[in-house]
Symmetry: C2
Subunit: 210 residues, 2 copies
């Protein structure tokens, strides 16, 4: 299997040659892109754009870290990277600010209908979420059950705790439902995840008054 550093293939398809590239890689590796985070990622990116334009929140997807080894500077045209490698990431994919609150989250999709495999989260993401929780960030995950068209925002402390348990390889849909705020996909924004964030903020205020 091709190892994309963030479990997502989206980074490959931002170029002008998008469809060509996608055809090529689909052909070559026989990957089904529908379960590789593309759709959920696009929904989140569009929602972030909407929130930013409406001045509701500023959240960006972090670029994939690349180690550049060789760059050419052709005359009269822009620099071309000729050799580079994917680097290990050290954070989640998304962070930003919403009404003074620091937001930090990771998004994952599964085609599975009854449970979510915990191996979809990588250790660096779990560690980063735990670090940000300690700093009082609003930290969560967005888990998409694509076959069911259902999306859940789950507080990161639940995910972090479950991930470190040795006897656990997945979360059931029921557990996720119980722990999460469900996000109904809509038109604008596509995935209004800030409704879930509002709930997390309200829960926090109810618990400790801040």
């Amino acid at each position: 299997m091709v190892k994309y550093p963030n479990g997502s293939s989206a980074v490959f398809f931002k170029s002008a040659n998008e469809s060509e590239l996608r055809k090529k890689y689909n052909h070559r590796k026989n990957i089904d892109f529908s379960d590789r985070g593309m759709n959920l990622e696009q929904m989140i990116n569009e929602s972030n754009k909407y929130y930013r334009i409406k001045e509701i929140a500023v959240v960006h997807k972090k670029p994939t870290p690349i180690q550049i080894v060789k760059v050419d500077y052709p005359k009269r045209s822009r620099a071309v990277i000729k050799e580079a490698y994917f680097r290990q990431e050290s954070t989640t994919d998304y962070n930003g600010v919403y009404d003074g609150y620091y937001l930090d989250f990771e998004a994952k999709e599964t085609k599975n209908k009854t449970n979510f495999p915990l191996k979809n989260f990588h250790e660096h993401q779990i560690v980063h979420l735990a670090e940000c929780l300690k700093q009082k960030g609003i930290c969560f995950t967005i888990i998409g059950f694509t076959s069911l068209n259902r999306y859940f925002a789950t507080p990161a402390n639940r995910i972090v705790k479950a991930w470190w348990k040795k006897d656990r390889s997945s979360l059931t849909l029921k557990e996720i439902k119980d722990w999460s705020v469900e996000i109904e996909s809509s038109f604008q924004p596509t995935l209004p995840y800030l409704k879930a964030v509002d709930q997390f903020i309200a829960d926090r205020k109810a618990n400790n008054g801040r």
Copy 2:
């Protein structure tokens, strides 16, 4: 002049071939790297590492966004990016969380001893800082006068306002001193910029009680 997307060359020197690459580019383009943000960037990265290990704050430098066009998958070795381009950035270089506060900042160096040219900040950085200010983030810049070994954390609203003024091409050292909290470089962390952040938070509390 070589256009690095974030005005920094640091991304090039994270590889194993660091010194070799540096020699090569120095030779080829005759760039003096000492004024390209390397030192300040290193100081900030080291400080961020210190703050993270000590569980004081979680701040990361964002990777440079790259548009990947061609990737090779050699058998039995990791993927090699064979063609890629620098993409336009849309944020500042640093953001993170500190005791519940969202931090966002850009760092720039100058060899100049009396003033700081505003063209060192790019429009996308200014726009992003303004957007994050509206969301009540703690937003600032770190300006390093390397010839003087002096570093200033300046609230972003000052920089944003000055940047948009047509009749302004630079800030004087005196203006920066008046507007900023000076950061004394030290041992651990190298650049204790959170002291300035504490001041910004105290000022904000004094102004609006939050």
